[in-house]
């Protein structure tokens, strides 16, 4: 019991740390990864709190799908940024 409490406390601190990194970092990639890490820690925390179903949802959607989606959109932004500036500046239709 005490071991689980200790582990939960460490995980909670790690979650807070990852959230702070996500907020304070200048690099978008690191911020996305840190946000995914928050979800991952939270899902382990749910597991310790005896809610494996919620933990699974959090891991699949929070840290899996959302992180992938952010990288996907980042890739698109980079692609658009890589285009010649002239066509990009003409504004959207």
């Amino acid at each position: 019991m005490t071991f689980l409490t200790l582990m939960a406390a460490v995980l909670a601190l790690a979650t807070l740390g990852a959230a702070l990194i996500a907020l304070l970092t200048r690099s978008t990639v690191v911020a996305v990864l840190a946000a995914g890490l928050v979800s991952l820690f939270a899902s382990v925390l749910f597991l310790i709190l005896a809610a494996p179903d919620v933990a699974m949802t959090e891991a699949a959607i929070g840290s899996g799908l959302t992180t992938f989606l952010f990288f996907f959109v980042l890739g698109r932004l980079r692609r658009e940024g890589a285009k010649p500036q002239g066509t990009k500046m003409e504004g959207s239709k």
């Binding site: 179903d53 899996g64 799908l65 992938f68 996907f72 285009k83 003409e90």
Partner: protein, 235 residues
């Protein structure tokens, strides 16, 4: 400048105080309340499911789950509708894509089958182990997203996705109605024999319903992701 930093700090402090009072006043219940005790005691006898959470989601609160799936469907439909206006012309990639790199391409080829298999495993075993339709569907969709990441020009058949989605939804509702005719009520799982407790073909219609939910959720997420991919870049 100081007020701009002060206001979020004050708000944060207020939020922290609210959460702390909640935390300080928390006393764990000595025993389950009546609803929880009913679920804990009766689930195995009534539904034959090993995972009580699944039994509650699919059977006791099945109508709510149908509502949730409908909300997700509406989201997917609206995203498709909005993004259809900026859809890239056929045969063209949504944007001139950059190659994604050897590591990602090879890794994707190796991992995607495993991810899809794991997703299917999660929703087929929903009544036995933690997890179920929503989680499995999300895992399947993230496998698909990985394929899109590796090759942005990859195209998935919208017809196939929407056929899977609509037939799964329709079968779900029909199973629910069958529950009204053959068993105790809408979405009652006892239209099929309960089987041996703990085996994969047990718990009546729960595995069937959860597979349908998994397919539906997977198809909905996939349709959102492919719609996002196929939009044209702003030019």
């Amino acid at each position: 400048m100081t007020t701009r930093t002060a206001i979020p700090l004050v708000l944060l402090a207020l939020l922290g105080t609210a959460f702390f009072t909640l935390f300080a006043g928390y006393v764990p219940d000595a025993e389950l309340n009546r609803t929880a005790a009913y679920y804990a005691n009766q689930t195995v006898a009534e539904t034959g499911a090993q995972n009580v959470v699944t039994a509650i989601i699919v059977t006791y609160r099945g109508l709510d789950t149908l509502g949730e799936v409908t909300v997700l469907f509406l989201t997917a439909a609206i995203v498709g509708l909005v993004l259809a206006h900026s859809k890239a012309p056929k045969g063209r990639s949504g944007s001139g894509f950059l190659p994604s790199g050897e590591l990602l391409t090879t890794g994707t080829r190796m991992l995607v089958p495993v991810i899809l298999l794991f997703g299917a495993y999660v929703f087929v075993n929903g009544h036995l182990t933690p997890g179920g339709g929503f989680q499995g569907g999300a895992i399947v969709a993230s496998g698909l997203l990985l394929m899109l990441l590796a090759d942005p020009a990859e195209r998935f058949s919208h017809g196939l996705i929407s056929r899977i989605e609509s037939s799964a939804g329709l079968t779900y509702v029909i199973l629910g109605l069958l529950g009204m005719i053959l068993a105790g009520g809408f979405l009652d799982n006892r239209i099929l024999p309960l089987g041996t407790f703990g085996s994969i073909l047990s718990a009546g219609a729960i595995p069937l319903i959860y597979i349908l939910i998994g397919l539906k959720v997977g198809a909905e997420f996939s349709s959102i992701l492919t719609s996002l991919e196929e939009t044209e870049d702003a030019e």
